[in-house]
Amino acid sequence: MALIRRPVPSRARRLLRWLATPRSVTFRVRPVWSLAFAAVVAMLTLVPIGHEGPDIGEHEGIAQFVGRFPGAQSVHVVGSFNDWRPGSIALEDVDQDGLWRATVVLPTGAYEYMFVVDGERWVPDHLAERLVSDEFGRENSIVIVRPARR
């Protein structure tokens, strides 16, 4: 009678109990598939650079430029890597949040640069830790491009 009166556990409680109860699970896998799976995982985690994007040479690296310029119409990065030629490297504000970015393949080395906002305003990269006087009354930022293949 006591058994009959015991309240039926709720669906959530039963689910919780089912989840918490230890069960034995048996996998039947051919060793060859295990090895193949392990090889794929190793390749995905150990190989840092995929085949997407440009082929990067031994003496090339990747520079990432980021600047906050809310309301800007265009932002370019100009420096000794592009002969100080405005217009060759445009930053993009994909999310329209005022944060402009560009990821660029450059030969390894150290370069001086500035941002050019709306084609006329020269602004140093305030996020860069390295700054040097440009001898024209302003400061250039310095980027060091390290080899991508290390």
Partner: protein, 219 residues
């Protein structure tokens, strides 16, 4: 021997000629003759010309007046001479390589005292020394005493770290500062950890996928 002499005699005028071609249309016309003469002087003295051309192109792009561009390039030429003299003083056999002159000139521009630069040059008898110089300058920019910064980088060289790994040493010291350590503590901690300082992360897969080469300059 004759061939080398011939090539050496040709290289100078060719460099000067190509410099003029690169400057025309990119800097005020009034500045070109003076800039050309400065570049030729650099060629004659066996100094690198690229930093001078870059400074002139930078001035042109920033729409600086001709006299200011010439003055800045003149200053750059002086810095290159000072860098060459420093390298020879520190033990490099003349003629010193243009790359090393550029590296040392840059270190001096980043406000590293000449004796500190000399110590780093002497500690690294074989170039390239660019990473070592930038590592010391990075530490100095984080208000580490330049002499102590050079000590740390020289210690790292002694422990077998070379090239870009030296930048990891300065990054590790800066990281210790961010963690709240004093400058002295940060230096001691990194020195203790040598040569096992954390390597900077490699570019991520997504960064590589996003990466683009700069657009070619217009003809």
């Amino acid at each position: 021997m004759r061939l080398w002499l011939g090539l050496a005699l040709l290289a100078g005028p060719l460099a000067a000629q190509s410099a003029r071609a690169r400057l025309e249309g990119r800097v005020p016309g009034a500045a070109v003759p003076a800039l050309d003469s400065l570049v030729q002087r650099a060629v004659a003295e066996g100094l690198p010309t690229e930093p001078l051309i870059q400074k002139a192109l930078e001035g042109g792009a920033k729409q600086v007046t001709a006299p200011r561009i010439v003055a800045a390039v003149q200053l750059s030429l002086g810095q290159l001479r000072a860098a060459r003299d420093l390298l020879i003083r520190a033990g490099d056999e003349p003629p010193v390589t243009p790359g090393e002159v550029t590296t040392v000139a840059w270190a001096l521009r980043r406000d590293l005292p000449a004796p500190v630069v000399e110590r780093v040059v002497a500690a690294l008898p074989r170039p390239p020394r660019a990473s070592a110089m930038h590592a010391v300058a990075d530490l100095a920019a984080h208000r580490f005493d330049p002499d102590s910064a050079a000590d740390l980088i020289i210690a790292a060289i002694g422990r077998g770290l070379v090239r870009e790994r030296l930048l990891d040493v300065s990054a590790a010291a800066a990281h210790e500062l961010q963690r709240g350590h004093t400058h002295a503590e940060a230096l001691a901690l990194v020195r203790q950890a040598l040569p096992n300082v954390p390597a900077s992360p490699k570019p991520t897969r997504s960064a590589v996928a996003r990466a683009r080469r700069p657009a070619a300059p217009p003809p």
